[in-house]
């Protein structure tokens, strides 16, 4: 960009905390990122991922120009092609034969245009988003309880609360800045208590006063038990319930049926009775209680009920929207909330409107839409089922990677292969999803995108483009606008810049203000371009120039009668319980330093160091029983798919349960695409998949061979059963294992490493089937490769950190070069210097050291210590010279 140093305030690309950042661009155009001290989400702090954002501003792997069927195309060609193909398919099969699958990574403006094009002008509601996998259960729960998808709390409540319940949330890793805020508050106010409810003992338990390692799928029972307990103990707020809520009696009756005593709840949830009692007592006696819930609640076949079971307890105690007291959904993605505002989900319309006649009429009038969709479209899992079944024929995927992230990912791949037309807009060229695209459209990446996002506390922030778009990349709203024009809807999509879209969105949110809907950006509807650029972070609804930190504190809700509604829920357990055939429960989730399918985080070397390889966590008892050895490989099978992962034995998971990270995919690994194993069961209301519980089995997997390779070059992964590619500083590391015979593998690997080039250094032990090669050039180490049979010790013990360090220096020292194929650092090995005694290989430095250390004065004494000079005697005269020059 400019040659002057500049600074842009923007928002972080990752989780729903929505931290403010400063992007600094220096005079030579390089970027650095630090936390924005002024942003109320983070006050200048950033987590590991945010800190490393600048490292992801790389051109590496970017999609740079449009492609049609593998051939480079111009933008007009690509736009026309997409428009005409969509029109053709719609004409032949109707509007419901096409669909968009979009992303919580999109900005609100992108989302708005996508939703308007599909629902308003194509005339189908077949637009769904990866947010479906993330917080759609929370949305449904809020809507059932409050009448609108409104998070009543704000981050400050976490600092004001006396009791914080973190349920189904590894806050420490998934929302690190919120975790730090809670931790700091707890240090300041030591009486604050934290309860963590999670089958796993995660990093979040660091600050827990009580950890409840709950049996998966029993959360409803636990919170129903709490509701009964509160009622029995007279701790409910009967006045509040009467004045502000409906349906309490049904809810309490239902709750009682889930367990009349603490013992029953304890048995159901597989928790100690005393711990449950403690948790319930704390909840009962603490007015300022915030319950944060996340994917552990949402990703469930009963996720909506779980959310409502939590909200029920808060309604029963009147703890909604009050300082330090609320049920608080922590969203996963940076703009999941923004997507919800514009109707990014198939079962909602824009601006928090629903598929009812009144809203449909209002929206049709506002958009002047000829054929607004009249009923909800297909939710993510159903959508891909429909594509696989052939009823949906064209799909436009924007900014997401469903071939990795959706459950039953093999079906997703089959669906993509079956579709007549797959269009993918992305900033990354090669993902598991782009491989199946007929049309590829280069979209701007995070640092280039310009628009707004909304975080978990309803706070709208500007994301300001700070980097020139790579290649021919364009903003997503613009790509969609251009296609809308090419389809003949030009007059309804008059957008020249993001601000145009935003103003329309804000204006829409302010229509029909007689409704009880709270979402309202009306005051921002007439922002000038400049004012839009200068927009400061604020929480909707915005009234009289002020944001609103909390909602519903006055007891008036978004329902027609203004009352909140208790939901009668019963614990149903998991959709696919474990069986003798599939005896283990597979839980999936995130790790600290990776994001989603790694397309961005894997580019930042420091983020790959924490957990470099895909792994499975196994309880020590299971490991002992099933002969699973820490650090070796295991095969995990479910009825839907198979994975091969590194075994990590830890008692942080429950016995009988496995935890796997969700991030790895076929670009960075082989055999680690967890979506393939995950069962496709969904919540009947939210459509959110049950990604936290899949029955499976695990067994040791013994490869024929294993290998580790480090290379300066980004090489394609070989087609073997296990592989992980790890980007480091100036190198890529490849961890590989396979079950094909070693002979052909060695050939394959050598070819992979440097097609046909003979290695510079080669080690071979034929009998042990151990092959180690290094390729060097004038710039130093290019590639080194270590292959051995089975789970070879020589491969597993190669010192990866030391090998990695060799790529940052331009030359190898003598000792380093000698040590290279040993895989062991020569640290501690002394350079013995020029060989003096050839018979016994004694070097000058060794002799000098002995002379000084033992005060040697005669060549025969040197011989006694080091043997030097005692065989042929050729070197005796040199030893004498050394003594003469160095003895004291």
């Amino acid at each position: 960009m400019a040659n002057n140093p500049m600074m842009n305030r923007s928002t972080c690309a990752y989780c729903g905390v929505g931290c403010g950042i400063e992007i600094h661009t220096d005079t030579n155009g390089s970027h650095s990122v630090k936390g924005d001290n002024l942003h109320p989400a983070n006050f200048g702090k950033l987590c590991s991922k945010g800190t490393n954002l600048a490292r992801t501003l790389t051109q590496e792997g970017r999609l740079l120009h449009p492609m049609i069927n593998g051939l480079r195309a111009s933008w007009p060609q690509a736009t026309d092609y997409v428009a005409s193909e969509f029109k053709r398919i719609i004409k032949e099969h109707g509007p419901d034969s096409v669909a968009f699958y979009v992303s919580g990574q999109l900005l609100t403006e992108d989302y708005y245009v996508a939703n308007k094009l599909m629902k308003g002008f194509i005339g189908s509601a077949n637009i769904d988003t990866n947010s479906r996998l993330c917080m759609s259960s929370a949305v449904s729960a809020y809507k059932r309880a409050f009448g609108e998808d409104c998070v009543p709390a704000c981050y400050e409540d976490l600092e004001l609360a006396d009791l914080i319940i973190l349920t189904g949330s590894n806050t420490a890793w998934c929302h690190p800045i919120l975790f730090q805020r809670i931790k700091a508050a707890k240090q300041q106010r030591p009486h604050m208590k934290v309860v963590v409810i999670d089958p796993r003992r995660t990093a979040t338990c660091e600050i827990a006063d009580l950890h409840l390692p709950i049996k998966p799928g029993t959360d409803v029972a636990l919170f129903n038990g709490l509701l009964s307990f509160l009622h029995e103990q007279g701790k409910t707020d009967s006045h509040y319930i009467e004045q502000h809520c409906d349906n309490f009696d049904a809810a309490i009756n239902s709750a009682r049926n889930d367990g009349a005593s603490l013992n029953q709840i304890a048995q159901r949830c597989d928790l100690p009775t005393a711990d449950i009692n403690r948790f319930y007592q704390w909840f009962a006696e603490t007015d300022r209680t915030v319950t944060c819930f996340s994917q552990g609640i949402n990703q469930s076949s009963q996720g909506t009920d779980k959310g409502n079971a939590i909200i029920n307890c808060h309604l029963a105690t009147g703890r909604v929207g009050k300082p330090g007291a609320s049920p608080f959904s922590l969203t996963g993605q940076p703009n999941a909330m923004g997507g919800r505002e514009v109707g990014g989900l198939a079962n909602q319309l824009a601006a928090h409107m629903e598929f009812n006649d009144q809203h449909i009429d209002q929206l049709r009038e506002f958009w002047k839409s000829p054929n607004l969709a009249r009923q909800p479209g297909l939710k993510a899992v159903d959508l891909f089922n429909a594509i696989e079944a052939g009823t949906v024929k064209a799909l436009w995927i924007i900014g997401t990677n469903p071939a990795v992230s959706l459950p039953n990912a093999s079906l997703v791949v089959r669906a993509l292969q079956r579709a007549e037309l797959v269009v993918v807009s992305d900033c990354i060229a090669s993902t598991d999803t782009t491989q199946h695209a007929h049309v590829l459209l280069p979209a701007t990446g995070w640092g280039e995108k310009d628009g707004t996002v909304t975080n978990s506390e309803r706070r709208l922030s500007r994301q300001r483009g700070s980097v020139d778009p790579a290649g021919e990349a364009r903003q997503d709203w613009r790509i969609l606008t251009d296609v809308a024009h090419a389809m003949g809807f030009g007059e309804h999509f008059p957008y020249k810049r993001a601000a145009d879209v935003f103003r329309e969105h804000a204006k829409l949110s302010h229509q029909n203000r007689n409704s009880p809907r709270l979402f309202d950006l009306g005051e921002l509807a007439d922002l000038t371009d400049q004012a839009y650029d200068d927009l400061q972070p604020q929480q909707w609804p915005i009234r009289a120039g002020q944001g609103t930190p909390r909602l519903y504190g006055d007891g008036r809700f978004s329902t027609d009668n203004g009352k909140a509604r208790f939901t009668a829920v019963r614990c149903q357990g998991v959709s696919h319980p474990v069986t003798p055939e599939w005896p283990m429960a597979l839980n999936s989730g995130r790790i600290r330093d990776q994001w989603h399918t790694m397309t961005r985080t894997a580019l930042a070397p420091p983020l790959n160091a924490h957990k470099p390889e895909p792994f499975v966590e196994v309880h020590p008892n299971d490991a002992a029983r099933l002969l699973l050895i820490n650090g070796q490989l295991a095969r995990i099978q479910s009825p839907w798919g198979t994975a091969i992962l590194k075994i990590n034995v830890t008692d942080s998971v429950r016995c009988g349960e496995l935890f796997v990270p969700m991030h790895w995919n076929n670009q960075w690994a082989r055999g680690a695409r967890i979506g393939e194993l995950v069962n496709p069961a969904v919540d009947p209301i939210s459509g959110q998949p049950e990604s936290k519980h899949t029955p499976c089995r695990i067994e040791p997997w013994h490869p024929q061979w294993s290998a580790v390779m480090l290379s300066r070059e980004n090489l394609p992964l070989p087609d073997c059963q296990y592989a992980a590619k790890i980007k480091g500083q100036a190198f890529y590391r490849y961890e590989l294992a396979g079950d094909n015979p070693l002979d052909t593998t060695q050939e394959m690997m050598a070819t992979l490493a440097h097609a046909q080039q003979e290695p510079t250094i080669r080690y071979h032990d034929a009998q042990q089937q151990s092959l180690r090669c290094a390729w060097l050039d004038e710039a130093g180490l290019k590639t080194c490769l270590y292959i051995g049979p089975g789970s070879s010790r020589s491969v597993s013990s190669a010192d990866r950190n030391w090998l990695a360090s060799l790529f940052t220096s331009s030359t190898l020292g003598t000792l380093e070069r000698k040590a290279l194929l040993s895989g062991k650092s020569p640290a501690g090995v002394e350079d013995c210097g020029r060989t003096i005694c050839a018979c016994f290989g004694v070097g000058e430095n060794t002799i000098l050291k002995a002379i000084r250390q033992h005060k040697l004065t005669d060549a025969s004494e040197v011989g006694k210590h080091l043997k030097a000079g005692t065989n042929c005697g050729s070197c005796v005269s040199e030893i004498k010279t050394l003594i003469a020059a160095n003895s004291p």
């Binding site: 250094i761 042990q768 020589s794 000698k818 062991k824 050839a838 018979c839 042929c872 005269s877």
Partner: protein, 422 residues
């Protein structure tokens, strides 16, 4: 009385003043300096020098003074009678007397034969021409050095250790040198094909020419009896002014045979280095021990130690043949080999090759023990490998790291993994 006692010390006579004989005296002096009245009969006119270092002398890197091990003062200092320039011609075993060419009669109580070996000359026509030399002692070196002043072209017949060292020395003296070798690789008794190829590449780079797989048919001469060239079995020929025959050595056993000691290829000795006559010992390159002949210094020194121990009447040492290690003594070239380095069906091989530095290593393993090693370029760990071979250490626990040398091998601490030798 005292004088008589001193005079009546038993007489110990050495025939041969080379490295084996002298080392035996040194070892004996350490054990018991007063036991014998010692005499040494040596054909050369100087004290005792390090024969291995003749190559650097030929190359001009060292002088004869540099490589003297013991000068004449040493003999005097230890009361040793030194018959220099004397040739022993006969042994009367009944009377225990050694006769010399100059007519001396030297009585002995114990006699040690350390007569070494004589260079083998291939018996082709012309092998006795002027300027056909061998490379054995300082006389040979001086003869070669003298010729380098007058001649330009030399051929060395034999690509073994001595041949290559001679070729290198002559090249360093400015000669145009060609090595003629019957096998297709150099040092074929010490190196495998790969290391031999690296060695040849390096020597070629220093200007030495090679004729491999080439057998000499005859040596041509002029009317003055001087060498003019070589003719080979394949019909080709090479013009040279001098020839060095480095085609091996033969144990020098003429004297032993003539006095009736039992000899085969060498003088037969038992494990304490005694010949069939218990008063006569033999050591070094002239002996044959359990069927084996010797050409390297290490076993010779070990024999010297055993022989001295027996002469000192301590009787606790026994010569046990061990694997042998070879080092090529050419400045700037590092080549090492030890043990059995040939690949066979019942051994296993580990190789390491740095193709840029020309560092090559090959280890041969049998029954989890190291039995052979060939190193080229980086020979630093040769001694350690040699120890492992000799000690028959179980190398299995460190096999993965073995070839990288001692510094990179850590023995596992578990008891079951301890090496057999520990």
């Amino acid at each position: 009385m005292k004088a008589i006692t001193e005079c009546s010390k038993p007489k110990l006579v050495f025939v041969g003043n080379g490295m084996a004989g002298t080392r035996t005296i040194e070892e004996l002096l350490k054990l018991n300096a007063d036991k014998y009245d010692i005499s040494v009969i040596g054909e050369e006119h100087i004290g005792n020098y390090n024969r291995i270092m003749l190559s650097p002398v030929l190359a001009g890197e060292k002088t004869i003074e540099n490589i003297m091990l013991n000068d004449e003062d040493w003999y005097r200092h230890h009361g040793i009678t030194f018959y220099k320039g004397e040739q022993a011609t006969a042994i009367n075993r009944k009377q225990r007397i050694v006769s010399t060419a100059s007519g001396k009669q030297i009585p002995y109580d114990r006699l040690v034969l350390a007569t070494g070996s004589v260079p083998f000359r291939i018996p082709v026509p012309g092998h006795d021409l002027k300027n056909v030399l061998t490379f054995r002692d300082i006389k040979d070196v001086n003869a070669m050095l003298e010729l380098t002043q007058q001649k330009q072209r030399a051929a060395v017949i034999g690509g073994g250790l001595l041949g290559l060292e001679a070729a290198n020395g002559l090249r360093k003296q400015g000669m145009d040198v060609t090595v003629v070798h019957t096998a297709d690789t150099l040092l074929n008794r010490q190196l495998d094909a790969t290391s031999a190829r690296l060695l040849q590449k390096s020597l070629r780079a220093s200007g030495i020419h090679f004729l491999m797989n080439t057998a000499t048919d005859s040596i041509q001469g002029n009317e003055l009896g001087e060498v003019t060239g070589l003719r080979f079995k394949d019909g080709s020929s090479l013009q040279v002014d001098m020839v060095v025959m480095a085609t091996g050595v033969t144990p020098n056993i003429g004297l032993a045979k003539s006095c009736g000691l039992h000899c085969e290829k060498g003088i037969l000795v038992n494990d304490v280095m005694q010949t069939f006559d218990p008063a006569i010992y033999a050591i070094g390159e002239c002996v044959q021990h359990r069927g084996q002949l010797f050409g390297l210094v290490a076993p010779t020194f070990e024999q010297a130690r055993v022989c001295a121990n027996h002469l000192a009447e301590m009787g606790i040492a026994r010569y046990i043949p061990k694997a042998q290690a070879t080092q090529l003594k050419i400045t700037g070239i590092h080549a090492f080999s030890a043990g059995q380095f040939k690949e066979t069906d019942d051994n296993q091989v580990i190789t390491y090759f740095d193709t840029e530095l020309d560092h090559y290593k090959k280890l041969v393993i049998k029954d989890n023990k190291l039995v052979g090693a060939v190193l080229y370029g980086d020979t630093q760990d040769g001694g350690w490998f040699f120890d492992l071979i000799q000690q028959q250490t179980n190398i299995n626990p460190i096999r993965d790291q073995l070839i990288f040398g001692k510094d990179f091998c850590q023995w596992p601490t578990q008891a079951e993994n301890l090496p057999a030798a520990a």
